[in-house]
Amino acid sequence: MKTMVEEIGKTVEGDLIINVGPQHPATHGVLHLVITLNGETIKNVEPHLGYIHRSIEKMCESLSYRQFIYSTSRMDYLSAHINNHACSMVVEKALQIEVPARAQVIRVLMDELTRIASHELWWGAMAMDLGAFTPFFHAFRERETINDIMEETCGARLTMNYNVPGGVMADLHPNFVTRVKNFLKLYKLKIHEYDELVTGNIIFQNRMKGVGFLSAEDAISYGVTGPAARGSGVSCDVRKHFPYEIYEQLQFDEILETAGDSFARYMVRLREMNESIKIIEQLIDMIPEGDFQAKTKAVLKLPKGEFFQSVETARGELGVYIVSEGGTTPYRIKFRSPGFSNLSALNHMATGEKLGDLIASMGTLDLVIPDIDR
């Protein structure tokens, strides 16, 4: 890492260097930003990473194809289920395992519940960053309901570890359908509060509109994916472009906004929750009967070759790239994490803006630090 003296060497008279983090409430994790300021205007933002780097990629090289899935729950812990899904799918693709229809529907249902839970947390935290404390409790009211559903079926509230190669680990809890329906009712009853509390608030809008602008070309060049890119009008939903599982048969829209500012990214996430609700409604009464797991061998050996699978997590495109030498453990594994690429655009977005606006830009990128550091 660059020392402070080196950093100061680049600056001109009147510039000020400040540190945001590694312990700062607005970074939601151990992210360290070294910011060069001139007055209140940002000249440069330099992320210093690695405070929570565990080298999951190296660890996975000594884990078997059944074990490595669980280490990915600890990457983007808010979309743990979707991470597990990606890893299971890449193993299934390599071994050409046919996943039973019931397992596919369960996986998609869980993915969408995870996505809603993740966006709920983001919404509460985002509003808190900008000074509104109440929304956090409103968001957690709904999020707790999802966590309870997860706990009952998967046995865990955050790191679900529910996916295994070939399907899911256990069948759905008998209460699952009723509880999800109750959640849908609760969500529809309460969602208007989100708009009334935050979206329509003029103070909030003034802090978001025109802040942290990212053009469509820059979003593509910086590799930004997920809601952050869709706020700039870049169509990049993996569920639409490279459909996996049963997404092809489902009716839902890809939310696009063209403004490219923080408010556009905010609106994308808020409206995306409604799309997830739509997907859940289509599936909840049509869970097919049958096996929840395909029969697989106890020890999995991937054939020699390279395998890649992308999925759409709550933050963007997660890619799992496995290089296999034919053994029981991967020779090399790479996680293309959405947070890492999204963060690379932060300097471009924040430069030239005021320091207070950085919080809005950072908040709408929805950074999860373990996902960046891995």
Partner: protein, 151 residues
């Protein structure tokens, strides 16, 4: 687009590319010296500009390194994979951070964990590990008796 059609287009654009049969997407390898020029050609290819670099990584094959670049054309949604073989003693390759801006971060990561030198990179420093870290952890011959996790 079918893989066969894409193969013909790429062969026309880059006559020196060595096409590999295996893989889900079109794989081809290039020499390190001609890589930068080819990358520019692919980025500015009118018919289907490969404008989205969605994965950049490296593999240590013990005898040599392989840089792997996954590119996507936003216009046609086609994916290609470029591989560049690097000498293990002098692992050097031109940076592409001026073509795809996201590569600046990804190349710093690869430098940090593999020790690949990216020529003309604007800011090649360690990203995750501390400056005084010795060695490159994702190399196969890296051994750390204290911090190593093995099962």
């Amino acid at each position: 687009m079918l893989k066969e059609e894409l193969t013909i287009i790429i062969k026309e654009l880059l006559p020196n590319a060595v096409i590999e049969e295996a893989g889900e997407w079109l794989n081809f390898s290039l020499e390190a010296t001609e890589f930068k020029q080819a990358a520019l050609q692919l980025r500015n290819f009118n018919q289907m500009p490969f404008d989205f670099l969605f994965c950049l990584t490296c593999i240590d094959w013990k005898t040599h390194f392989t840089m792997v670049y996954h590119l996507r054309s936003k216009k046609t949604n086609d994916n290609i994979v470029i591989k560049v073989k690097l000498n293990r003693d002098i692992p050097e390759i031109d940076t592409i951070s001026d073509i795809w801006r996201t590569a600046e971060f990804h190349e710093r990561e690869v430098f940090d964990l593999f020790g690949i030198i990216f020529l003309q990179h604007p800011d090649l420093r360690r990203l995750f590990l501390t400056d005084d870290w010795v060695g490159y952890p994702l190399r196969k011959d890296y051994d750390d008796p204290i911090n190593m996790i093995k099962l």
